[in-house]
Symmetry: C2
Subunit: 219 residues, 2 copies
DNA sequence: TAGCGGTAGTTAAATTATTCACAATTGTTT
DNA sequence: AAACAATTGTGAATAATTTAACTACCGCTA
């Protein structure tokens, strides 16, 4: 299972499958076909089967996939069957919302340390996490084997914070700042950027010439 | 300029260009080449030129692109040269962080109305926006010609809220709930889902066989 | 004004991703 | 037990996207 063989787009879709399977499981389903999963996620059954085939054979012909089994396999493939301690940098409004967000922990992403450069914030305890000074970042990341850094500082400071995290040994970064950060090839970057999302949305809200303005009447 | 001719991936990249150009402009640059823009955004110059060529000819051979001009053209193409009034549904912790976020308004996205089903929240004023009951949603969206809805309610309620927004006439939805919503073809959907981002990140943090474990010694 | 370095726009080629189509297999029904 | 309906996994075909390569052009310099 050579990771360079599996296209990135496929990896991006696997968590979608995991989530849909969890839903199905919660609903009591034991078996699901690529057809059903496809209509749930609005994609073609062929794509789902193809995606899964990169990793093995999980289904039974004529039946479909065992929901619980497939979910567990995908979680294992993605590394979701373990804990991923993370640290947060920047405990402003956004950072606090992130620390308090209840969606990370159940998925194994626990924020075990928080940092801020503001002396006012340092020492505060937010949702059980003590805010530490930036000068502690490097050592803490190393000591606690933190592989994931979450960045919620203003754009102006984001790149230098990311550099710090990388220097500390973090291997993945979830960046909320509205910039296009530079990271080494061996560091995985994911950007959360609602403004970009809105800005690409508006194009489709504009009127465009994609058809005759008036119905064409044949003579 | 038929929108069906322009690939979606291209539209997704345009805001990136707009942002990079704004940065360059702030830095005093008057002209930029696809080469420079590419290294700033970590993409090939060819891709940038190709993307721009879908919309016209903006550069000068031997020189590059006029930063201010290209930025304005792209903003016009994306519809960013106008105001996009938006409404927010769900003013819990996340919703409040969104309303208070200072990054939307400068880009023309102003939250002009907020809704919540909790009677405790209704009537409150958050950052100058009064929270209204869900029963007002439909009429308000229509009256104020709100084209964009932002959804920050718990997953369980998200689909029904989205249905409401669509019924009210919203044409684009920015969804923060961790679900895969169903929307009609004529409604543009963008999901903000940090958990999915993390879940696809961890795959790359795992050890994978992508090369010999030990150096191979030739005899 | 002729030549040159540099860069856009564009056509063609290469690469990547998606969809199709079908053999193989499963469980069910008659 | 045979026929049948359903569904996977996959190789081939198709479609989409990216990259490369080249022509035309711009502004500068000698």
């Amino acid at each position: 299972m050579n990771r360079t063989e599996v296209p990135d787009v496929v990896i991006l879709r696997l968590p979608l499958y995991v989530r849909a399977l969890a839903q199905l499981l919660a609903g009591g389903a034991e078996v699901v076909s690529s057809q059903q999963l496809g209509s749930l996620l609005q994609m073609t059954p062929a794509q789902i089967r193809k995606d899964l085939s990169y990793f093995g054979r999980f289904g039974k012909q004529g039946r479909g996939y065992n929901v619980r089994f497939l979910r567990e396999e995908l979680r294992r493939i993605l590394g979701l069957d373990r804990k991923w301690p993370a640290c947060l940098v920047g405990v402003g409004r956004l950072g606090q919302a992130i620390i308090n967000y209840s969606g990370f922990a159940p998925e194994g992403f626990t924020i075990v340390a928080a940092f801020d450069r503001d002396p006012e914030q340092v020492g505060r305890n937010i949702a059980g996490v003590e805010v530490r000074p930036m000068s502690d970042l490097r050592a803490t990341v190393a000591d606690r084997e933190i592989a994931v850094g979450i960045v919620s500082v203003p754009a102006a400071q984001a790149q230098s914070v990311i550099d710090l995290l990388v220097a500390g040994g973090v291997r993945g970064i979830l960046n909320y700042a509205p910039i296009a950060p530079q990271v080494p090839l061996n560091v995985v970057l994911r950007n959360i950027d609602p403004v970009l999302s809105l800005q690409s949305m508006t194009f489709y809200l504009l009127p465009h010439d994609d058809g005759p303005a008036l119905p064409i009447t044949l003579p």
